[in-house]
Amino acid sequence: MDYVNAFWIGGLICALVQILMEKTKMLPGRIMVLLVCSGAVLGALQIYQPFQEFAGAGASVPLLGFGNTLWKGIQKAVDSDGFIGIFMGGFTASAVGISAALVFGYLASVIFQPKMKK
């Protein structure tokens, strides 16, 4: 059942974003920022965490989940370190994802050459 929920929730989020891409004039960068901010706001409203427990990777993998991770990291760091946690927590919580993106991005660029679109 976990797999099924992850599948349809993840797919639903992607489908909603696809509608944004097709029906609005928003450029991709703006849509991504919107997703991250929405995730952080939904996290702050205590909505995203229960949602993520239900949907698993379907909610944590899309960019919305990244916003939620930022929010959770900041919340945790503020609880333990106070004010300075605002600047610390987001990066601590997302360090694995960001570093992995950098390292794998670099590796891919070493191995592969860009090709023409079809």
Partner: protein, 337 residues
Amino acid sequence: MSQTIGTQSIQFDQAPYILGSASIVGTKEGEGPLGKLFDVVGEDDKFGEDTWEEAESTLQKEAASLAIGKAGLEKDDIRYIFGGDLLGQNIATTFGLMELNIPLFGLYGACSTAGESLSIAAMSVAAGYGEQVLAVTSSHFASAEKQFRFPLEYANQRPLSATWTVTGSGAFIVGKKRTNVRITGITTGKVVDYGVKDSMNMGAAMAPAACDTISQNLMDFNRQPQDYDKIITGDLGTVGQEILFDLMKKKGFDISNVHMDCGIEIFDSESQNTNAGGSGCGCSAVTLSAYILPQLEKGTWKRVLFVPTGALLSTVSFNEGQSVPGIAHGVVIEHAG
């Protein structure tokens, strides 16, 4: 006697001739409806180079050399080159034409550069500043995406109104020696801005400029659309074409019977997934060389108005929230029987 007529046009007393032309395109263009007409279709879109920008330079150099050869000339016979492309600081032109060692005027008119370069080439020859001059322009899908949208590595999705930048280069020798095709007049466009802010919908941004130049041409030369066998815009695409018809109707001209758009002709949008059509300064240049000039040489068409259209944006102006102004340059090309 003054050769200027109307407010924006020139009618040449001694109209210069097109002595030869060449078109080189990429693989996708080679698979399109005009594929068999092009002089050279590349086997690989990098044209043997390491980067997309170098590939575009090679395109331009090869097109220029081929046009010189087809006109039966040597490169020393060329007095000036008028060249341009879509990349920042015209690097495809600079690095591509450097080896030719011919005096160069680098031009930028976005996708209208094919018309701009032909206009100035014709003016130079008509004024006696050169026996033979060369006009060359190019664009490359991959380098243009990097320059104006996103690098291909980013793998973004393309909206339906987006046009597909043509990989190709067209070169033209304009001179005094008599041939079957001559440039009898030009209408130079103004920058026209209707406040379109969508960089993915260039057709809508350029249609008002095309309308402005075409209607000015008809008024300056005191002609009707039917006086042309074809009125050929560069790369408005399907979206821009509809807007152009509407705008022309408001000015009292119906051009829907004689209009043709290079961007619509060059790809089959259904099977080639190119959405609204082709674009880029290579688009109008290769279509002119491979498809339009042969019709004029044979006399199938007697007189056409060639109007490449350009969207004058940069990523800086666009990201700073400026609109996308358009420009269009008209060139009257006639069969000289």
